[in-house]
């Protein structure tokens, strides 16, 4: 039991660290862009004081760019906040489509760095489970991390979920390069511990190029 908690704790901390580092990097970029736009406005104002005509349209464009970045930053903080609230209750009823939307947003930067486009299928009705949200998000992240290595030439990974008879399925599709990862151990110990914690099951379908995560309606 202690060993299992140790694995879950380590995996959780690594996941938390990775996500917050990625979020902070994104916010830094937003601030850096606003800094440059504001700096350019200052430069133009200084030049106007020295007699160079001020281009009003240029000023309007810069103001618009700054507002767009503020909106981008606000969106990032929204996702960070949603992620933080994953641990409000150890066991919660969650909307799986919302969880996948959150994970697709959190994983966007890491996926871009690997030149992978991460897409989420449109919602098909409300799919809910009673589960441990943070642990599920951790598990989805680890599956995505593995999936991105297995994306192969397609460079697009698609996330989707559906309700089934005995629970729900999360599918990570578009993994044309899965067969090239045969030598890699998957699921690893941390995946297995997370799966046990949410009473889930994981299948790798090399032919279809999919990872399928099966969850019970209630992990309590």
């Amino acid at each position: 039991m202690g060993f299992e908690l140790g694995i879950l704790g380590d995996a959780g901390l690594q996941f938390f660290g990775k996500m917050t580092a990625s979020i902070s990097h994104e916010i830094k970029n937003v601030l850096a862009i606003i800094n440059e736009d504001a700096g350019l406005l200052e430069d133009l104002a200084s030049l106007a004081e020295k007699g160079r005509p001020l281009e009003i349209e240029r000023v309007k464009v810069l103001a618009g760019k700054m507002k767009a970045q503020i909106k981008r930053g606000d969106e990032i903080v929204k996702w960070m906040n949603r992620f933080a609230h994953s641990i409000n209750e150890p066991l919660q009823v969650v909307d799986l489509d919302e969880i996948l939307t959150l994970m697709a947003s959190l994983a966007e930067r890491p996926s871009l760095m690997r030149e992978i486009a991460l897409e989420k299928e449109p919602r098909r009705g409300r799919v809910t489970v009673r589960t441990k949200p943070f642990i599920l998000e951790n598990l989805i992240w680890l599956c995505l991390d593995f999936a991105m290595a297995g994306a192969g030439g397609s460079k697009t990974v698609v996330l989707g979920c559906e309700a089934g008879e005995n629970g729900v399925r999360i599918r990570i599709k578009g993994l044309k390069g899965l067969s090239e990862l045969r030598g890699e151990t998957f699921p690893r110990e941390e995946h297995k511990a997370l799966l046990r914690a949410v009473k889930g099951d994981l299948a790798v379908d090399t032919e279809a190029g999919e990872l399928v995560l099966v969850l019970p309606p209630d992990a309590g």
């Binding site: 970029n29 800094n35 736009d37 760095m113 030149e115």
Partner: protein, 119 residues
């Protein structure tokens, strides 16, 4: 002085280039390591300012490749990622002349570029 700016955030790097031009510094910009390598085949730059975290080729590996094509080029790294001390040590070990944390202070960047080129 001719500067090449490399960062995958297009708005950041294009605006920074414009601000450097207003200060009398010729500045080219690209949004990837591959574009940077292509650019130096036809253009000469005195300094390259590289984001450490780039897709495909990170800033430190890019520096090594750029050095092969432009042995006299000087390098400054910039990043918004991780602790300043970690990246300062990393970038100095990679042989960069200087290291900046985003958001960049443009006056400090210009001052450092001028110092580097005087040496």
């Amino acid at each position: 002085m001719r500067v090449l700016l490399v960062d995958d955030e297009k708005e950041l790097v294009s605006t920074l280039a414009e601000r450097l031009e207003l200060r009398g510094i010729e500045a080219g910009w690209v949004i990837s390591g591959e574009e940077a390598l292509k650019q130096v085949e036809t253009e000469t730059y005195d300094v390259a300012v590289l984001d450490v975290k780039l897709p495909r080729i990170d800033g430190i590996r890019l520096k090594k490749k750029l050095e092969e094509k432009s042995p006299n080029m000087k390098f400054i790294f910039m990043t918004g990622h991780g602790s300043e001390d970690d990246y300062r040590v990393g970038s100095m070990e990679a042989g960069a002349e200087y290291y900046l944390v985003k958001p960049v202070n443009i006056e400090l960047l210009v001052k450092k570029m001028r110092e580097i080129l005087k040496e």
